[in-house]
């Protein structure tokens, strides 16, 4: 009995030690300022203060920048945005301002962001400063400039620098999402910025377009186009305007880029539905799969060495991973009877995919490439399809009919509530987030 008790006490201490130790390790290693948080714990508590501006124009631009920065930081879900306390700035004399750090820490702020907008002839100058609230230490001071047309990109350039500073990672600012919309009565391809801003129609084929996906460098758009009367893989050069169509007969299905020079897709010209690697000029580089069953939806590990895909080789559609060098294939999913639409995280070994479940729901799951860590991200909200990672791997864009029509939503890669991305007529489907930003 005593021994059992001692064993329990030891286990508890061992467990506590394991839980605490990694935190100390991180804290001791931190040379630069990186907000240290336990995985899954709260966001960075941030005060984004109203930008200072003198003059009518400056004040107007400052307000616009304020809104864009606030919405941008809010979109990342990395921050808890705290309203600035009333006494955050104290005027010591007419020209200098002192930041009241005790007031900031008393409202729980970890980081304080403030800035000034001035003008030099027609150029808008934005001086931004970032402080650690507890130590009143200046973490970043940076100037952004541009014209009125650049306000949005100036605000986002600062947001990107702030995220990089506080998390050590690049963020989503500057990235794009391509998707399908049937707004015109035809399924055409559209693009918008990461936050749904600036929707632009990219095709006008008055046919059916499917599965658009941008190359990692943003120079090419691969998609399936029915203009010729059959679904054909099309690769549009977005800088030159030329579109290569894979000239082989039969059908093409669901392209996925391996890198900026090679896109994989299913081509069935030899009678079987096999995945091939295709060059950007539409010529075939090589055949990847070799099975008489359905093989579709290739998606690649960040280093391009492994490919996850859907195959019906065991009957029902399941996910498999193929090592490109050795050709070795392993089955990845064993839970669920209809697993499709894999997308490999651009920054990790996680793969997101959908399961069509018994009750008719389609739900989004993530799984590690070794088959561990199966996690359900959506439930009780209809059909949730076509998940695609943000370039930083923090968020997932997908389509859902949770409110009736199919619309695009963005959620954290850890799950939770999805926020609707954009309000456009018709149904929006098959979103794909760019890797560039």
């Amino acid at each position: 009995m005593m021994q059992f008790f001692r064993g329990v006490v030891f286990s508890v201490f061992a467990l506590l030690f394991c839980l605490l130790f990694p935190l100390h390790l991180v804290a001791a290693e931190g040379q630069e300022y990186i907000a240290i948080r336990k995985e899954g714990s709260g966001n960075i508590a941030l005060v984004l203060d109203k930008l200072d501006a003198k003059g009518r124009k400056e004040t107007k631009f400052a307000q616009s920048l304020d809104v864009t920065m606030h919405d941008g930081l809010d979109f990342t879900r990395l921050f808890s945005l705290i309203s600035p306390p009333l006494n955050v700035k104290e005027h010591s004399d007419r020209n200098s301002v002192v930041i009241n750090f005790p007031a900031l820490t008393s409202v729980g702020a970890e980081v304080y962001v403030g800035g000034v907008v001035t003008m030099k002839s027609d150029t808008i100058i934005l001086d931004m400063k970032v402080y650690e609230a507890a130590g009143s230490k200046l973490l970043m001071s940076k100037t952004y400039s541009g014209t009125e047309a650049d306000l949005r990109s100036m605000a986002h350039a600062f947001c990107a620098d702030l995220v990089q500073l506080l998390t050590g990672k690049r963020s989503v600012f500057g990235s794009k999402i391509v998707f399908i919309s049937n707004k015109t009565g035809f399924k055409e391809i559209y693009e918008c910025e990461f936050d749904g801003y600036g929707v632009r129609q990219l095709t006008n084929s008055k046919s059916i377009s499917m599965n658009p996906v941008l190359s990692p460098d943003g120079r090419y758009l691969a998609y399936i186009d029915f203009s010729s009367g059959r679904p054909a893989l099309s690769i549009r050069n977005l800088t030159g305007g030329r579109t290569a169509v894979v000239g082989k007969s039969a059908v093409s299905i669901d392209p996925g880029w391996r890198n900026s020079n090679e896109v994989a897709a299913t081509l069935s010209f030899d009678g079987n539905q096999e995945i091939y690697l295709v060059n950007t000029d539409g010529t075939i580089s090589r055949k990847v799969t070799n099975s008489k069953s359905i093989n579709i939806s290739p998606t690649f590990s960040p280093d391009g060495s492994k490919m996850a895909f859907v195959s019906s080789r065991n009957g029902l559609p399941q996910l498999f991973i193929q090592d490109l060098a050795s050709g070795q294939v392993n089955r990845l999913t064993f839970s669920g009877r209809y697993n499709t639409q894999p997308s490999w995280s651009p920054v990790s070994d996680k793969i997101v995919y959908t399961t069509w479940e018994k009750g008719g729901e389609i739900n989004i799951f993530t799984i590690n490439a070794d088959g561990s860590g199966l996690t359900q991200l959506t439930q009780n909200c209809g059909e949730n399809k076509s998940p695609s990672w943000s370039p930083d791997g923090e968020m997932i864009v997908f389509t859902s009919n949770r409110q009736g029509k199919e619309k695009l939503y963005v959620m954290s890669a850890k799950g939770g509530d999805g926020r609707i991305l954009l309000q456009v007529d018709g149904e929006q489907t098959q979103p794909s987030w760019s890797l560039f930003r």
């Binding site: 029915f226 579709i296 499709t340 008719g360 149904e427």
Partner: protein, 155 residues
């Protein structure tokens, strides 16, 4: 589903012109509007081209599909001037990429059967529309059963 109506209309209107223009000719086949087996239109003298239907998530042929495909093969043999397009279709359930693949397998299973009956493969083209062009709009098993088909079109 709004995208579907103009597509259907664009198919239907030329089909009507075609029917009107050659109402006296035996080759004409109307696209079957209803459940299997499709009711023959009065203009057809020879047994025409009929569509065949599939079970959920399957591309293998049902018994009545085999009967219909024999009829279709006879029509194709008797109408040497016409080539035929076999379109594979799926119901709206599941995911669209998989359905595009499944639709092609349905078209191919119908084609393979007809080729085995002695029709030259060069006369038969296949295509898949997956779940993109449903024949019946609806979210019931009745609608789904109508949409899981290989649709025969004479060129």
């Amino acid at each position: 589903m709004n995208s579907v109506k103009p597509l259907l209309r664009s198919l239907f209107i030329p089909a009507m012109f075609f029917l009107g223009a050659c109402g006296c000719c035996e080759k004409v086949v109307a696209p079957p509007p209803a459940a299997p087996p499709p009711p023959p239109a009065p203009v057809i003298v020879l047994p025409g081209l009929g569509d065949v239907f599939y079970d959920f998530d399957r591309s293998d042929l049902r018994e009545e599909a085999v009967v219909q495909l024999k009829t279709n093969a006879n029509w194709i043999a008797a109408n040497a001037a016409n080539n035929v397009i076999i379109e594979g279709h799926c119901d709206e359930r599941g995911t669209s990429e998989y359905n595009l693949a499944l639709g092609e397998r349905r078209a191919n299973s119908a084609k393979d059967y007809i080729v085995n009956l002695g029709i030259a493969p060069a006369r038969l083209k296949t295509v898949s529309y997956g779940e993109e062009k449903p024949f019946v709009i609806g979210h019931t098993e009745e609608a789904w059963a109508q949409n899981r088909r290989a649709h025969f079109v004479a060129e």
